[in-house]
């Protein structure tokens, strides 16, 4: 039986998943990216300083990650010396963006897979927002409309949390999380100029000067977010894990893991990072070589050559290409599929013993849940990995504030050479993000992006091997093949961003 899961909602962009079901098991899965814009071609011939603005528009959920990757790439291409304040402001902006994104993902994008919001009808308390939602749902259900209480209903059939108090608590936190996301975004906008799509980020730092009042504002906002992470987000996740422990064993991808490292601890290009980069295969971590990345397009809608390296990347769309089923290319590392994202970021760091806080948190939660760390490769494991990243990053950005030299400029003087090239690599909240820029006559000659969801939602490579999400879906047992809430939970655990994946 063939069932399409698209449009899969509560993720960024246009994703379909074509499944083949046999005896209630997903026998095959194909991830289909359904939207194409062509950023890499649009960037050619432009002024290089346009790039950190244009590439933010690849994704309005994680624009800052693109601004940072583009800035890093341009810094290399311009051979730019970055002032300490500049790198710190980059970190503060990117860190705050991660925090907002984790809250958005857990509450707005994922919670409705597990939590029963109709429990609000049983609410007896006096909380303003919950009373408002209760009365609204009541009026909606009584209205005789075709689709009452949208966008919360209708929903897929399946098992949801059945404890009314837990559901009501989670709904309250769903609403609170929206307020906290605004605070995290306001914090990043203090230095970035606005959110989404920051205008104050440049290669080498920011045009905003970190005056003391701005630093204090940032700290106050992030402290509130940090408290929410510890007091609500992590406990809510633990509760969901207790009700759905089977999801420690559902949704494993079948390849290695890759992280490019996140948040440099100093302005030098080779600075140690808060999360260390690496390729994890089994328990072995090896360093990342950008030259080992190629993109296959046998099953992607492009007529440009397949298997090209990033430096040699091409982009010729062919919407009706035979056998192609997605706009997403299939990137591979040394020919192998890898998973990227929060679980990769945490596992790659954990296995190198880079950040003691990461190790402590992984061990703590693994003991609590009765799992081994390799189970981070699962639906719940990916959720837990995000929460671990959130806790570590919140502490880090607050410490980073203390290292700012208040009132000192945070930007570098930019001179664009006629020729030059550079890779810029970082971790978006969704995983390993690579930008590459090459200049000719002071203009962009080539710009390439290999983006987290390009890896995770990749179609088959030329050898026919599935991408990370495809491999995680295959073999999954589903109760109702038509709706497949189990598959949808797996998809959501990767937090796909299709605008990023195709760009």
């Amino acid at each position: 039986m063939k069932i399409d899961l698209g449009p899969v909602t509560r993720l960024e962009g246009h994703l379909n998943v074509k499944t083949t079901i046999s005896d209630n098991v997903v026998e095959d899965a194909q991830c289909v990216g359904e939207m194409f814009r062509g950023f890499e071609v649009i960037l050619r011939g432009r002024d290089p300083l346009d790039a950190q603005q244009v590439t933010q528009r690849i994704c309005g959920v994680c624009p800052y990650a693109h601004a940072i990757a583009s800035s890093y790439a341009q810094e290399k291409a311009y051979n730019l010396a970055v002032p300490a304040n500049g790198r710190i402001l980059h970190n503060l902006i990117q860190g705050a963006n991660h925090l907002y994104d984790y809250l958005l993902h857990f509450y707005q994008l994922s919670a409705l897979d597990f939590v029963d919001v109709t429990a609000v009808l049983q609410y007896k308390g006096a909380d303003h927002d919950l009373v408002k939602v209760r009365e609204w749902v009541k009026a909606e259900l009584a209205s005789g409309k075709t689709y009452p209480a949208a966008p919360f209903l209708p929903r897929l059939s399946g098992k949801y949390v059945d404890d009314a108090e837990v559901n009501i608590g989670a709904l309250k936190h769903y609403l609170e999380a929206m307020e906290l996301q605004k605070k995290a975004n306001r914090a990043s906008a203090v230095f970035g100029g606005k959110f989404p799509h920051a205008t104050a980020i440049f290669p080498g730092g920011c045009s905003q000067t970190p005056e003391l009042d701005l630093i204090v504002t940032y700290q106050a906002l992030i402290e509130e977010v940090r408290d929410f992470i510890h007091q609500k987000y992590i406990p809510d996740l633990v509760t969901v894990a207790k009700v759905f422990p089977e999801y420690w064993h559902i949704g494993q991808s079948k390849g290695g893991f890759m992280s490019f490292g996140l948040l440099p601890l100093g302005p030098q290009p080779d600075s140690k990072q808060l999360f260390a980069p690496g390729i994890l295969s089994g328990a072995n971590v090896s360093p990342v070589d950008f030259g080992a990345i190629t993109e296959d397009v046998k099953y992607a809608r492009y007529s440009s050559p397949t298997g090209l390296t990033v430096r040699a990347g091409e982009l010729v769309p062919d919407p009706n290409k035979a056998a192609a089923y997605s706009w997403v290319k299939a990137p591979r590392y040394n020919g192998q599929m890898v998973e990227v994202g929060a679980a990769a970021r945490v596992l790659v760091d954990y296995h190198q013993g880079n950040n003691p806080q990461v190790k402590k948190l992984v061990d703590h939660f693994a003991t609590l849940a009765g799992i081994t760390p390799d189970k981070l490769n699962s639906v719940l494991g990916r959720h837990l990995s995000r929460a671990i990243c959130a806790a570590v990053i919140a502490d880090f950005v607050l410490e980073e504030c203390e290292r700012i030299e208040p009132g000192k400029p945070a930007g570098a003087e930019i001179r664009i050479p006629a020729t030059g090239e550079g890779y810029g690599a970082t971790e978006a909240s969704r995983g390993a993000l690579l930008h590459y820029i090459r200049l000719q006559d002071h203009k962009v000659e080539k710009y390439e992006c290999v983006v987290p969801t390009t890896w995770n939602c990749s179609p088959r490579d030329d050898k026919g091997n599935p991408g990370a999400l495809e491999s995680a879906l295959i073999g999954t047992r589903v109760e109702n093949p038509d709706e497949q809430i189990e598959s949808v939970r797996i998809v959501h655990s990767f937090d796909p961003c299709l605008a990023c994946a195709v760009h």
């Binding site: 399409d4 899961l5 449009p7 899969v8 909602t9 509560r10 960024e12 962009g13 379909n16 359904e34 939207m35 194409f36 814009r37 649009i42 011939g45 002024d47 300083l49 346009d50 603005q53 244009v54 528009r57 690849i58 994704c59 309005g60 959920v61 707005q108 408002k132 609204w136 909606e140 209205s143 409309k145 689709y147 949208a150 966008p151 919360f152 929903r155 897929l156 605004k182 306001r186 906008a189 100029g193 606005k194 959110f195 799509h197 205008t199 104050a200 920011c206 045009s207 504002t217 009706n320 400029p409 930007g411 930019i414 001179r415 664009i416 050479p417 006629a418 709706e483 497949q484 605008a499």
Partner: protein
């Protein structure tokens, strides 16, 4: 700006295009609670978009996004928020678009790949097919963000998909439909939510020549810029990071119609120019359009 006569003429054209008659009656008392049964549903579709406008809508402060969804609009479908998914979601969209689920306002975020319709598909249909069908059943259309209004970055020079905005799409397909254009890359949440409140409570707001609500887009960023004084005194920033008027660095405030300079962003915390970042004209119909029109004008070639 339109003069009075032009505006009356435009309003007449718009009200017929919009079937204003089927929108709720004007509400005299501004604070009167709206009857939820009379609020049109919002069918929110995404084209060649980055979701930045949707994310921006969630940054609304007064009122919050929750209030906007429960009290002033009814979000029938939004791909980022809806619990429904897959076949169920397609059925829901189809019911509205075919006119079987009652009155609705179409909100579009993102551009339309006119030359390559396969470059944007929802379920089994192209976005273009949905938009053509919806034209016959919707009460009004709101284009959210510069991409939906004018094509935005997907329509920038050299693009491969022939991306265009909603108004131009309807013109090209000989469909008489006027679109309210809320420009910005991304939009400011107030611009969208307050326009929707206006549509629901009073009807069509006064629009500029470009079809954008005059309340938000009537003046340029430059006119109400807090650094207008610096401009007049010729106190110009010479390099990135400097205070003063950013005009010499390429600031597009003088050409860009939007009220960022008085409204500010992210709960009034900040905005581009307060962070010494020149306006890049993201609310302009020509945003990022030309390769030879860089965002920044700095003497920086090494």
């Amino acid at each position: 700006m339109l003069d009075r006569r032009e505006f009356v003429k435009l309003a007449a054209v718009l009200s017929s295009a919009f079937s204003v008659g089927v929108l709720p009656e004007p509400v005299a008392a501004a604070l009167k609670k709206i009857d939820p049964r009379s609020i049109p549903k919002l069918l929110y579709l995404q084209g060649q978009s980055c979701t930045g406008c949707s994310i921006s809508l969630l940054q609304a402060e007064s009122s919050s996004a929750l209030t906007m969804i429960t009290d002033f609009s009814q979000l029938a479908f939004h791909a980022d928020l809806s619990a429904t998914s897959g076949k169920q979601a397609i059925e829901l969209i189809d019911k509205f678009v075919s006119g079987q689920a009652g009155e609705y306002v179409l909100a579009l975020e993102g551009a339309i790949p006119e030359a390559m319709p396969e470059a944007c598909v929802i379920g089994h249909k192209t976005l273009a097919a949905y938009l053509e069908e919806a034209a016959a059943t919707m009460s009004a259309a709101v284009a959210i963000g510069t991409c939906a209004c004018d094509g935005g970055i997907p329509a920038a020079e050299g693009n491969q998909t022939g991306a265009i905005g909603l108004q131009e799409f309807y013109r090209k397909h000989n469909i008489a439909k006027t679109v309210v254009n809320i420009r910005g890359c991304s939009v400011h949440p107030d611009w969208v939510w307050q326009t929707i409140v206006h549509l629901v409570k009073i009807g069509l707001p006064e629009l500029t020549e470009g079809g954008s609500p005059s309340r938000f887009y009537g003046r340029t960023v430059h006119e109400t810029c807090p650094r207008y004084h610096d401009f007049q005194q010729e106190m110009f920033a010479e390099k990135l990071g400097d205070k003063g008027c950013l005009f010499k660095l390429g600031c597009l405030g003088p050409q860009t119609h939007a009220d960022c300079s008085s409204r500010w962003w992210n709960g009034g915390q900040t905005w581009c120019i307060d962070a010494n970042a020149p306006c890049i004209g993201c609310a302009s119909p020509l945003f990022a359009r030309k390769k030879n029109m860089p965002f920044y004008r700095t003497n920086r070639q090494g």
